[in-house]
Amino acid sequence: MDVTVGRFLRFIVILFVMVVISWLMYKLADLLTVVIVSFLISYILDPVASYMEARGFSRTAATAIIFTVFFLLIAINVWLVLPGMFGQLFVLQKQLSSGGTDSLILAAQDFIKSTASMVDIESIDIKGKLESFLTYASDQVMAILSNIVSIISAVVIIPFVVFFFLRDGRNMKKLFISYIPNRYFEMMLNIMHKIDGQLGGYLRGQFTEAAVVGILGAIALLILKVKYSIIIGIFAGLANLIPYVGPVAGAVPAILVTLVNGGSTSTIIYIIIAFAIVQFIDNMIVQPIVLSKSVDLHPLIIVFAVLIGGKFFGLLGLLLAVPAAGIIKVTSSEIYYGLKKFRHL
């Protein structure tokens, strides 16, 4: 009887704690995002700090140098790329709404009709889709920008938190470990090490790959003189985080923009070739080096992850769904195998 009451009480306490944690997470969502983003940035930068430490720098000096270089790069990007990017976005939106591109869209529709007659072109409604996407994209960007809290957190709090995560991360980890009961301590240490090994490689690989594809894509489009090359490059890089669809999704906006602006068929062929080359470089050179495909995710999981991400967190959720699924897969499988190995399962 006592045992049953005890179990029931424990269940109630756990339930209460979970409700309180969920409520806090909901209320502190903004703060939580800052912490998660800062953690991810410092986690990705951690090996650089370790490498510098191995070369004789103190952890604080290494952190300060990385911090300065990293945020200088971001500042330069914000200074140079962002105005151009917003300019391009607004011009594109204005151009579409002014009706000046109607004839070109019709031309593109005619082109599709003549080459692929089985497609019901009226039901596709290229212009409507493009307009609603652009309105959505620029609304999202404006929503982020107009939110003063986001600006402050992005400019001030995130760098501040990243600095301390990067410098004191190891001590924080040690402190966390010191609270683990003796019985589970060795097992937890082993599990954390395994997760760190797999996840570190995976996340760093994913983001390096996205950066390489984004930069190469933007350069290729700049050379081909395709409009909005920077936005499309950034989009291609981020889309690359989604397997199967990503590489194609990167080329589609470039082709659409060329069609809308009355670009020639040869330009479209060049765009396709350029993106094929970028993908070739990514597959043959970047991926083997960064080992970003070290976490195998079943295609079905990828589809559901992308759908769930898009449904709950919008555009950002869509793009970050696959890395998030990778994190969940690695963490849960390592915990499971760890518990099994240490005979707690």
């Binding site: 370790s50 430490e53 191995a54 040690k174 010191s178 301590f185 060795e186 082993n190 954390m192 090490h193």
Partner: protein, 179 residues
């Protein structure tokens, strides 16, 4: 004046405790070649833990991922379900160092026989050290390799002697059969 004494006491106490730990670490064979700065770096990555009397530190068959050094206390190394005592270790002794090299099941259990303070040094920390401070990591690896080479040599000698003894016994039993 009083404040000075208070702060002085706090720092003095902490300093003394750290000095004790460095002295203790310097006696552990795998840390033997290290200077004070390197010992400080090691001390930063070690995990300090307290075990109650009769609390297991690890159990036979558990996967081991590191070694333990006794700062203060007493540990019994026991075997089997009936806890057959193999050795009793005390301040400055260490055990479980083989697990630093390979994740194999522990061959015996370790039990704290009184409340004990331990330092844990784990495979993940050693790997981390090899990345962040390869010089220091290699010194430890070399010492570890030496220790295992010594043990292997000892085992080989023992093995040889046992083989000779076995051959003699076989000869004797043959002679008995013949006669």
């Amino acid at each position: 004046m009083e404040e000075d004494t208070l702060w002085g006491n706090i720092f003095h106490k902490k300093e003394k405790q750290s000095d004790d730990i460095y002295t203790l670490l310097a006696k552990v064979p795998i840390f033997q070649d290290l200077n004070k700065r390197e010992l400080k770096a090691i001390e930063r990555i070690l995990h300090q833990r307290t075990y109650n009397s009769n609390e297991p530190i690890f159990n036979e068959g558990d996967t081991g991922v590191g070694m333990f050094i006794i700062i203060e206390g007493r540990v019994n190394i026991v075997l089997g379900k009936d806890y057959k005592l193999l050795a009793t270790l005390s301040n400055g002794d260490f055990f479980g160092e083989m697990a630093l090299l390979s994740e194999v099941p522990r061959t015996a259990s370790a039990l704290a026989s009184i409340e004990s303070q331990m330092l844990g040094f784990f495979q993940s920390d050693l790997f981390g050290l090899l990345e962040t401070n390869p010089r220091l990591g290699n010194k430890i690896m070399f010492r570890l390799a030496q220790m295992i080479a010594d043990r292997l040599r000892f085992s080989n000698l023992e093995n040889q002697q046992l083989k000779i003894k076995l051959a003699r016994l076989e000869e004797k039993s043959k002679e008995k059969k013949v006669s």
